[in-house]
């Protein structure tokens, strides 16, 4: 109950200064690139210890956040990662279709910055005339304003690695469990089973 308190207290403050210009914080993609070095620190160091190079700070090791380009780039850069492997790393593609919970979402270069939760389904990567399809178990897709897309999933398999007979068997099992489930948790588990297996089925047939 009290968790909502900070949100409820903050709401009137925002409503009273309601224009976007008055917002204290801008989106991270609208900020200018953070400088890699702190110049005041380096100047102070050089005054006191001119003979030794200033130490490197973590910021100098980081690659600067890419600026949002003023014109829409021609390609989308995709980073598709799994917990055990990096499937695609900074790959330039034309379009990616991701299975978001709100439906299949096509992501083109210049897509508005979005965070989408993914449901079990097929993700296809379109590069020229090649289309690579993966079945994703679930995950998230974070699309940045500069046409970079980070897609993370726990399991992603090419469609030809899926065994149709096991899918049918699983679907039948879980449909039966769904009708015979008693507790909430069992019902949820069975419902997840039915969802995943029907998605696998449509991936195999579609």
């Amino acid at each position: 109950m009290l968790r909502q308190a900070t949100r409820l207290l903050a709401r009137p403050a925002i409503a009273s200064s309601s224009s976007f210009a008055a917002r204290a914080r801008s989106f991270s993609t609208d900020l200018p690139t953070a400088p890699a070095e702190d110049s005041t620190f380096i100047d102070a160091w050089k005054k006191i210890i001119p003979n030794i190079d200033p130490p490197a700070t973590p910021l100098t090791f980081m690659q600067p956040r890419p600026q949002t380009p003023s014109s829409i780039p021609s390609k989308l850069t995709v980073n598709f990662v799994l917990p055990y492997a990096s499937e695609l790393s900074a790959k330039e593609v034309d379009m990616v279709i991701i299975p978001a919970t709100t439906g299949q979402m096509g992501v083109l270069p210049g897509h508005v910055a979005t965070i989408a939760e993914l449901k079990p389904g097929v993700m296809s990567v379109h590069e020229g005339n090649d289309v690579t399809k993966y079945f994703i178990s679930s995950g998230f897709a974070v699309i940045h304003a500069n046409s970079f897309a980070d897609i993370i999933a726990i399991e992603a398999v090419p469609i030809d690695q899926i065994d149709p007979s096991l899918v049918q068997k699983g679907l039948a099992d879980f449909t039966q469990k769904l009708s015979s489930a008693s507790t909430d948790l069992e019902k949820a588990e069975a419902q997840i089973g039915v969802d995943v297996h029907s998605a696998l089925n449509s991936a195999l047939t579609g």
């Binding site: 679930s138 726990i154 399991e155 899926i162 948790l185």
Partner: protein, 106 residues
Amino acid sequence: MASAVGSGAAVPFWRAAGMTYISYSNICANMVRNCLKEPFKSEALTREKVHFSISKWDNGVPQKPSNPLSLSIVDLFFNLFLSIRLVAKKNCEEKEEELKHKFIIA
């Protein structure tokens, strides 16, 4: 978790049933792994194994750990998740204090 409904967001059915996103996501991944063709399936099943050992602490002293277990994530969630919830709840009722017994998963 049901307080999310108060702020107007639709709660997914698994969260309404008490499951967290991580459990939901791991269950989906397991179901997908179980539907793979043979050579891929055995490689995938090795990824699913979780190694852990549990030692119960009593008055700041760890007791002997139970046998180090190696379970698949599905067994882990359905046996351990439910049993830890039940045991923690029972302890609260017995001692009238929040979680006097702590489970440390090493």
